[in-house]
């Protein structure tokens, strides 16, 4: 087990309003989320001495303007002018989960006391994957000429592989979309709060990139979320109940750029990250009371459930049936609605929900008697990270 097991905790969490269009600069969303997280902890802004984020804009063909389409650490530093700042970082090889892990490491190293991690996501006007131009350079020279334009198609090819290799049907995915949308109705911060989804809606929706229909894809939004991390001893003195970090992992497999469709790459990415997390935390999939698994595209949940070890390969779409992922099921899943419910804010939302469920703060969507709360914070293949939060720090 990890010698630093349960020595760091997530304390406060914060959100901005998630909107479809970018009416106000992204920096304002990030600021709202960060202020919310700090206030939720009962801290003052001048207590914050660590900053971390992953600022990437996953949309293609749009300018990255700091404060408008991304919110970098530099941007946040300039806005907050924190008098006691001692540490900051932006991560690259992992998505936002890596920023949470780096903040954890910084706290354990004693180089800051209260770290804030935020994820701010811009929704550019016009087509999200704006692919102009008539040249395909770099890795896209082997995909772009054939109409592989965005990450959706890259994810879709692995999904057809999975479906047809395992003799499965995409109809079963309706259960995930509908159940998550049901969970969304307990999350007032979610974009689709107040908008239910039926199985009929799912089957009637337009196809985007087969096997993905509209409701298999998270909707691009403008918004931000944030968390405060601190050492467990300090977290106990703050306002909210701490969510103790029992262990984490990151994917150790790398797929060469431009090689798409490999199902085994998803599995190796996810299993390598989960293995570290199980070993460090001392838990196994059977111990998990509630799980958040990244769902930017629905099929990510399949790769997550299988590669993390919740079910066998080829069985994920059967595993999610019969009420298992409901709030009172055997494995309540994406209880905040997932990215399919909140809109595209990447995996920090999954981490927030993992922490809220562990600390008993999830309100009307709180799963009963949670101790072990699992998070897979991004697609296992590219930038996968995994976490376990617990209520009881032993």
């Amino acid at each position: 087990m990890w010698e630093n097991r349960c020595k760091v905790a997530i304390s406060g969490v914060g959100y901005s309003k998630a909107t479809r269009s970018a009416d106000i600069p992204l920096a304002a969303h990030a600021l709202e989320a960060v202020r919310g997280a700090v206030a939720d902890s009962g801290l003052r802004m001048e207590d914050i001495d660590g900053l971390a984020t992953y600022p990437e804009l996953p949309a293609t063909g749009h300018a990255e303007v700091d404060g408008i389409s991304v919110v970098s650490v530099n941007c946040m530093m300039a806005m907050l002018k924190l008098p006691n700042l001692t540490w900051h970082i932006q991560v690259g090889t992992t998505n936002i989960g890596g920023a949470v892990q780096q903040a954890t490491n910084a706290l354990l190293a004693g180089v800051c006391k209260y770290a804030v991690v935020w994820r701010a996501m811009h929704n550019p006007s016009g087509t999200y994957q704006n692919l102009p131009g008539n040249m395909a350079a770099g890795a896209t020279q082997f995909t772009g000429p054939f109409g592989f334009g965005g990450p959706g198609q890259g994810m879709a090819v692995a999904y057809t592989r999975w479906l047809e290799k395992n003799n499965q049907t995409r109809d079963k995915m309706a259960t995930l979309a509908v159940t998550q949308r049901k969970h969304t109705q307990h999350n007032p911060h979610a974009y689709f709060y107040g908008t239910p989804l039926t199985r009929e809606d799912y089957f009637a929706s337009r196809m985007v990139a087969y096997p993905f229909c509209l409701f298999d894809c998270d909707i691009p939004v403008q918004g931000a979320v944030a968390v405060v991390l601190t050492l467990a001893d300090r977290a106990r003195d703050l306002k909210p109940a701490p969510a103790y970090l029992a262990g984490y992992g990151q994917r150790l497999h790398f797929e060469t750029a431009g090689r798409i469709g490999s199902l085994s790459s998803y599995m190796e990415g996810g299993s390598s990250s989960a293995k570290l997390t199980w070993e460090r935390s001392g838990f196994t999939p059977k111990d998990v009371d509630v799980a958040q698994i990244y769902d930017g595209f629905s099929a990510s949940v399949i790769y997550g459930l299988e590669s993390y070890g919740f079910c066998k390969e080829g069985e994920a779409l059967d595993f999610i049936q019969d009420g298992r992922i409901e709030l009172d099921g055997d494995l309540p899943l994406n209880t905040f609605g997932g990215s399919l419910g909140t809109g595209r804010i990447h995996g920090l939302w999954h981490i927030i929900e993992g922490a809220l469920q562990a600390s008993g703060r999830a309100g009307s969507r709180q799963v009963k008697d949670v101790n072990v709360s699992f998070v897979g914070a991004s697609a296992p293949i590219v930038t996968g990270t995994t976490f376990i939060f617990v209520r009881e720090p032993y």
Partner: protein, 142 residues
């Protein structure tokens, strides 16, 4: 059948790793990067052998026959260059001669509904301009 006639395909920009691949395609030949130490074929090209880390890599001819490893049918028209062809099948092919080397392409000369995992395909060459020819795919009985 998908109408490709009005599609403007982005044109590959060869670099030092990929130039031999495109030079071969221009001659209507398929050549993939192969490790001279362990014999492993890989695609897309990479700096080292992804099996044994050797840097002794050369392009060698492979037969243009294989199976559809995976596919997607594109319906979204966000990419204006391809909007006129939707729905169309983008496929990933695993060659008989190079297991694990996955090549993206389109299924040509067949309904997009014919794309299925495991179907046999063979290469056809589609010239884009004087310099670049794309390896593409059609259903095969081989």
């Amino acid at each position: 059948m998908s109408d490709w006639s009005k599609v403007t395909r982005p044109i590959p920009v060869p670099n030092e790793w990929t130039r031999p691949f495109w030079a071969a395609a221009k001659r209507n030949a398929l050549e993939l990067q192969r490790c001279q130490s362990c014999g492993h074929f890989q695609h897309p090209p990479f700096a080292t052998c992804t099996q044994c880390i050797s840097i002794d890599l050369k392009f060698e001819p492979v037969r243009g026959v294989g199976t559809i490893y995976a596919y997607t049918i594109m319906y979204h028209t966000g990419d204006k260059r391809f909007a006129s062809a939707v729905p169309y099948a983008s496929i990933v092919v695993e060659l008989d001669d190079a297991p694990g080397a996955l090549m993206a392409g389109n299924l040509l000369g067949a309904e997009y509904t014919e794309a299925k995992v495991g179907r046999r395909v063979e290469v056809v060459f589609e010239p884009l301009n004087d310099d670049i020819t794309l390896p593409q795919w059609r259903l095969a009985n081989v």
